[in-house]
Amino acid sequence: MVASRRSFIRTGAGVIAASILGFDVRPAYAQAKELKIARTTETRSTCPYCSVSCGVIIHTLGDKAKNVTAQVVHVEGDPDHPINRGTLCPKGSSLMQDIMNERRLLKPQVRRPGSDKWEDIGWDQAYDEIARHIKKTRDEGFIETDAQGRKVNRCESIAWNGGCTDTNEFNYLVVKTMRSLGLCYVENQARV
């Protein structure tokens, strides 16, 4: 906006008038705060909570260049989303605290049989040990035929429990891997 000369004069007069009492009111022109999302990168995501699947925009600092780790500064509703139209409930509105949460698990750990504590474990070792557990348990309990001699090829000694925020693609990988192991106990939050 271009200030007219008249407004300039009036403003100047105001400052002078105020100055008589020893104040400088010019800083009061400034906004209290700078808009914190003025220079963020926006990423479209979906709220992980209920099944309305509200569109959310995750505001991060940094432009996603290779050498930059993005920092989340704000999460707001996606105004284009036909269902939530930019709105969010109290859980959706607090998603930033879910992303930037000091309670997050950050390393693989194991609790050994009989132990009373968690111990750190490397990913590769964790994979090795878990795979060994799965193979041993499967091989010991695998049922090729049932009592009537019918082929059933099932592993009843291992169960899978899937969560509510697992993506479709992940869930398909679960179905592929677990069913190929012969698992019957393939269950999900969807049941309960």
């Binding site: 906006m1 009492l21 400034a30 808009l35 930019g86 709105t87 109290p90 959706g92 509105s93």
Partner: protein, 291 residues
């Protein structure tokens, strides 16, 4: 909503014409709270705290869904929960978003002696500028709605800014954007009045709320935050919304006929402060103060 910096209409503790007044006149903004479609979800509470980046408070269970008993210096926005039975015997669970009403004639601004600590923008937003706040809490006395809250650590008073930073950038306030049911609306005062009256008329015609009405109290010159209530005759049922709010008489006198006296006293006060400064040096900033 406007583009460019907001223009100031009134400044606390300041004699003469406010600087910048009349330079640009954006339309009056207004928040409308239709309590009949509020679901008490507290999204507005969260959006407010998230946007303002305030530290969390420890709360305790108090036999209610209400987050805390009252607003706080870092909690501008609180849903008040009330179980209410109407004279006709109808049970109601009332939710009212409490917070600054951004009065057209703000008692806080009238009461404030500190130059520039409270400003009223030409669009109607009443904003506290903490860097000029002297912590006297006169604004608390001046407010008929018990809104401004004092932070004892920083000795500053805070309240809802109507997200003047967002509004200045052409966005709506954070609570407005979040509200899931759209019980919160934002726009020009004229548009909001129109919307509110139509909604109240719809309620009177199509629902059992035959006393529905718009809360826009004249005692404070009208407000830039209005309510649609199920029963306009009984605003007290919504957690102490005053039926006929008025600026305390003392405040009116202070900033009315005796304005010159106040300014004189202010000047004397500042002179006192200057003398104090010369003698003892600057006040040490306490830890944790926002800068």
């Amino acid at each position: 909503m406007s583009n460019g910096p907001l223009q100031i209409k009134a400044v606390s503790g300041q004699a003469g014409t406010p600087p910048g007044q009349g330079a640009s006149r954006d339309y009056d903004v207004c928040k409308l709270i239709d309590v009949t479609t509020c679901i008490g979800c507290k999204a507005c509470e969260v959006a407010c705290v998230e946007w303002n980046g305030y530290p969390f408070r420890e709360t305790v269970f108090d036999n209610t869904y209400q987050t805390m008993p009252d607003l706080a210096w870092n909690y501008y926005n609180l849903i008040r929960f009330n179980e209410h039975t109407t004279p006709e015997g109808e049970f109601q669970w009332l939710f009212r978003k409490d917070g600054c009403l951004h009065c057209a004639d703000p008692g806080c601004l009238r009461a404030c002696p500190a130059e520039g600590a409270i400003v009223q923008y030409s669009n109607g937003i009443v904003d506290f500028q903490q860097e000029y706040c002297i912590g006297c809490q006169y604004c608390v006395t001046g407010c008929p709605f018990n809104i401004p809250k004092f932070n004892p650590e920083t000795k500053k008073v805070h309240k809802c800014t109507l997200c003047s930073d967002r509004v200045g950038a052409g966005l709506e306030p954070a609570c407005i954007k979040a509200c899931p049911t759209g019980c919160l609306h934002f726009g020009s005062k004229d548009d909001m009045l129109d919307l509110a009256e139509k909604r109240a008329a719809q309620l009177r015609e199509h629902t059992s709320h035959k006393n529905a009405g718009v809360y826009n109290p004249a005692g404070v010159g009208g407000t830039h935050v209005m309510y649609v209530l199920h029963d306009i005759e009984n605003p007290e049922a919504y957690g102490g919304l005053p039926k006929d709010p008025r600026i305390p008489l003392l405040v009116k006198i202070w900033k009315g006929p005796l304005k010159w006296l106040g300014n004189l006293a202010m000047t004397a006060g500042i002179v006192g402060v200057a003398v104090h400064y010369l003698r003892f040096g600057p006040k040490k900033t306490e830890g944790g103060e926002d800068k």
